[in-house]
Symmetry: C2
């Protein structure tokens, strides 16, 4: 039922890990590594915080510290200094930091003029809405991406060691250069956030009636627009160059679309202005091509699935009963979305399955008394 | 289990409805109205098509036609002509069209210089990926919005009659002027589509590794980017002025954001350029305010829900078993999202519930052996 511990790479053979900074991420790393019997020592500028992390089981704070890996889990502005201190203090240790932007950190370290062969930046892509040691969880990284960002001077053995440690927390690791990492998160995380916010902002002064026409599309596009402005200002500012580059591309294409719409708005007949229409068609087609490249169940593969829409009552257990019956029928559900009507006592469960399963599933569900809509 | 017929406003007292154009929408209207015993007559320029719609049960094509309501279910370019013909041919009938843009149609009708008191534009917000009579469904409109767009000269009794007909199909009706309708769908449907396409287009040339970092955020924002370019070119061109106005606002705000990022990218220290940071913070905060206004389970109320994240195996029936147990516990699930890991044999089910239910639900699920992540 739940993931068994053996899906997590064992911690065997890992040296002592010293975690500097016992906030949410540092404490969670300690908890995850302790769960696979790695020796973890903890440090934080606050004695209260580190004591709490220890009491939660994230590692020890007494005794000798002789780490093979040092994890700097601190805010971006102080991380470079802490990385340099760790490299100097433990000449045998590999050092990583876990901030969400990598080029700025690496540039700061290079400016210091020290040897950086034992430094490997990294970025565990996990977080919670709450912060602090008390919110730490040993399973925070399970199934999440943890990107390793070796620079040109990183010792391959150092990269391997940080990767083994990351895997021991249950994370799925990958490797990107600091520049590629920052460009990637700009495109797959930071720019979507800006776009969602820009679209959502347009809804602020709409009438209630107009908002009542909101369907699944606008809800999907704007879901992440609820994000925290303070946090996102830090993230966008820390990745200003890469985010700016992608947004500039969008701005240019958008200008072309607005020009095309202006031309079309002037026309008398819908058949006029074929050039303007081509601009619109290209924009949507270009989006098709990009969308098709998103990996996994919600992206590329989604287009290969077929959706069976089932009407369900809006009361406890109904969706569960539906999915249990789908399980009994023996069909694997690839994705599920719930779409509630406008004040109606029922909603739609949109069940994505492999195309070959869609027909038989619909028939079988109908036979069991469910109402299939699509 | 399924919605009972009495959630649909009865068809009693409705006069004969004459449907002109038996494609997907026209045929579905016929099927929906026949299901509540409304007399429906059908017409189409294609004899084959209208015969198919009749054979499917959407209405009759023989006998006398004396409608109280005429529904023009044709493409935008020929709809104005068909509306005018219907007004002339049946002097006692109310006439509506069902195209997705309303100002263009109304402007065309006004240019013809006839009395339009018996005309009420409308827009059923339902569709399918497939088209044609063969794809028609009697439950296509159930729970979907159907917007009535009376113009200043519409007879109130005519508006009421079209509204009763729309409700008889199971739709949830609302009223907006043609201009307000077009502005509303620009903001809640057409602009989100353009934004999704623009963000998705940036992914086209990203490396596999970079795309591997795609999380739920970018998947949500770009989900509708898979839409059909031909269809969307027609929709955007038909609502060019309203879409252009909203996109111009976005373009202006985006220019400010790019300028702020350019300034931040030039700075040495992350503490510099407070004015540029304020631009970013305002953009995100503005998005918060707009997002909070989206009604219903996926919008405004979502912020009031708490999410319980449960680790589930990726095999048939597991999610169903989870949801059945949630039903047994007696908690109503407000929303559900499935998030699959990167090649891992399990995923996360994110169950949104009322805040008061989150603690007890987590405890009870843990007691039943489920692993709770958040």
């Amino acid at each position: 039922m739940t993931a068994s511990p053996d899906t997590r790479q064992a911690g065997e053979g890992l040296p002592e890990v010293h975690v500097v900074g016992t906030g949410l991420i540092g404490t969670s790393i300690g908890l995850a590594l302790r769960a696979v019997d790695v020796d973890v020592s903890l440090a934080d500028q606050s004695e209260t915080t580190v004591a709490l992390a220890r009491d939660l089981g994230a590692g020890r704070i007494t005794g000798e510290v002789d780490p093979g890996v040092v994890v700097i889990a601190a805010p971006p502005d102080i991380s470079p200094r802490l990385v340099l201190e760790a490299l100097e203090r433990w000449p045998g240790a590999v050092v990583t930091d876990v901030t969400s932007v990598k080029q700025v950190i690496h540039a700061d370290l290079v400016r210091a003029g020290r040897a950086l062969d034992r430094y490997v930046g990294s970025h565990p892509m996990a977080g919670r809405e709450r912060s602090g040691a008390i919110s730490g969880r040993g399973d925070l990284f399970e199934g999440r991406a943890w990107v390793l960002c070796p620079h040109e001077g990183s010792d391959p053995a150092a990269v391997d060691l940080v990767e083994r440690m990351a895997r021991a927390t249950g994370a799925a690791t990958s490797r990107l250069s600091p520049a590629d990492h920052d460009a990637a998160v700009a495109a797959v995380s930071h720019v979507p956030q800006v776009a969602a916010s820009l679209v959502a902002a347009r809804l602020e002064h709409l009438s209630e009636q107009a908002l009542g026409l909101s369907g699944p599309g606008v809800r999907d596009v704007t879901r992440i627009a609820a994000s925290d402005p303070g946090l996102w200002t830090q993230i966008l500012a820390g990745n200003a160059v890469a985010v700016g580059a992608v947004l500039t591309e969008i701005s240019e294409e958008l200008t072309g679309i607005v020009e095309a719409l202006t031309e079309l708005g002037r026309e008398e007949s819908v058949a006029d202005a074929p050039g303007a229409r081509a601009v619109l068609a290209r924009a949507i087609a270009h989006g098709n091509a990009g969308h098709a490249r998103i990996p996994g169940k919600h992206g590329a593969a989604t287009t290969a699935y077929e959706v069976v829409s089932v009407v369900v009552d809006d009361r406890p257990g109904e969706v569960g009963r539906l999915l249990t019956e789908i399980g009994e029928i023996g069909v694997n559900m690839e994705d599920l979305r719930l779409d509630h009507g406008l004040g109606l006592p029922f909603g739609l469960a949109e069940v994505a399955v492999l195309p070959s399963a869609a027909g038989p599933l619909s028939e079988e569900l109908r036979a069991r008394g469910w109402r299939i809509q699509d």
